[in-house]
């Protein structure tokens, strides 16, 4: 390679490396703010400010969903395997909201550590399975894992 071209190649590599390092440091400094939501264990530990709007995310604990018979009111627990947090919500849930599925909640943490939600979003997983296959997997107990792995930054 011609020495002049080699020099220009070094400049190009320098630009790429330098900008990557700069952006990398920035992302590292902002890492807590880039997370979309707090995991339940952080809320339970009191690391989350009370009475301000935050997002929480976790697995909707199987068996914890209680619906009111005369209104849209709903209560459930979200968990990340370490801690559970109670959520109160009065509104329309997305179709994919279900026990054992992940959800993202936008709301206010009260003094008692519960969340009064104003919005509940379903966080669906990356698995795509036809219904028949899902049935046979259920029979084998393969797809019973709720919110697989429970990695929510806990």
């Amino acid at each position: 390679m011609h020495p002049l071209r080699k020099q220009r190649l070094m400049i190009v590599i320098f630009i790429v490396v330098f900008s990557s390092v700069a952006v990398g440091l920035m992302a590292y400094a902002l890492r807590e703010n880039i997370n979309l939501f707090y995991p339940p264990s952080k809320i339970a530990a009191g690391d989350v400010p009370h009475n301000t709007r935050i997002r929480a995310g976790g697995c909707v604990k199987p068996g914890s969903v209680q619906r009111a018979s005369d209104s849209l009111e709903i209560r459930f627990l979200i968990t990340d395997g370490t801690a559970d947090v109670k959520v109160n919500f009065n509104g329309i849930l997305p179709d994919l909201f279900a026990e054992g599925e992940a959800a993202v909640i936008n709301g206010i943490v009260t003094e008692s550590g519960e969340i009064n939600a104003s919005e509940v979003l379903a966080k669906h997983d990356e698995n795509y399975v036809p219904p028949e296959v899902a049935e046979t997997m259920k029979d084998k107990g393969e797809h019973q894992k709720t919110c697989e792995g429970l990695k929510y930054g806990a």
Binding site: I15, F37, H124, N127, Y128
Partner: protein, 250 residues
């Protein structure tokens, strides 16, 4: 001697003449693949057990997002080659790749939004994946704007090549955002190192669609680059001969 083929690749005329016979093949192949994969994916692939039919937008969303990311690498690498070897052709490829990439990014953002409403319950959420994809869209728009911002071709090419290189850091961030941070967007379904978490009956039309999009991307990039070649080389003898030959036929 070893570099001779490489420098010949840098000749716009050679490139133009060489790619002419590829165009009908690429066009046929990409239409055949995309139409077959669309019919297969939309009509014959089974519905998802949780999302029902709404998951089928994956057949547009994922290939568009793949190509938006891959297209950025093509743009940035041709910019780097142009900077290092001072060749004309790579800069033309770089310029031609920007609008295609912008369009593909836009398609993946819009389809993602349409998909998000019935599944997540929202059109838009400022999570790491969606926001970094929006930044990619602005980078592409910046490339287009920067090309127009300079009087001199050389300055415009150099400046936008540097922008393309700096923006390259965004691509791994988009790709890994769902693993590094808590996001609403789910992690990758198609994995290169382990088994994909999508049933084969749904995966095959998706892979076919991805290949179809790659062919289509190649076709559009070639067409765009050829137009750019004619525009920038319009004072050369071979372009004049080409034009007068077409005029004579007409």
């Amino acid at each position: 001697m070893a570099w001779q083929w490489f420098h010949r690749l840098g000749s716009p005329r050679w490139f133009y003449e060489k790619t002419t016979p590829w165009l009908p093949w690429l066009a046929t192949l990409s239409i055949a693949l995309i139409v077959t994969a669309a019919v297969w994916g939309l009509a014959f692939a089974p519905a998802d057990f949780k999302q029902g039919n709404s998951y089928r937008i994956i057949y547009i969303h994922v290939p568009a997002a793949f190509l938006a990311l891959a297209g950025y690498y093509i743009m940035a690498i041709s910019g780097a080659v142009g900077l290092i070897w001072k060749m004309k052709l790579p800069f033309m490829v770089m310029k031609s790749a920007a609008p295609i990439g912008a369009l593909l990014t836009f398609v993946s953002l819009v389809t993602g939004s349409i998909w998000g409403k019935p599944t997540w319950g929202t059109w838009w959420e400022w999570d790491a994946r969606i926001t970094s994809m929006l930044i990619l869209f602005f980078l592409y728009l910046g490339m287009i704007a920067l090309q127009q911002a300079f009087q001199h071709r050389d300055t415009a090419d150099k400046a936008s090549a540097v922008l393309a290189l700096v923006g390259m850091v965004n691509i791994p961030i988009i790709y890994k955002s769902v693993d590094w941070w808590n996001t609403l967007h789910q992690p990758a379904t198609i994995k290169f190192t382990s088994k994909s978490s999508i049933d084969p009956s749904m995966l095959y039309p998706l892979l076919m669609m991805v290949i179809g999009f790659y062919c289509f991307y190649a076709l559009v990039l070639l067409l765009n680059t050829r137009v750019e070649i004619l525009r920038r080389e319009n004072r050369t003898q071979w372009v004049n001969d080409l034009v007068s030959a077409i005029n004579k036929r007409a």
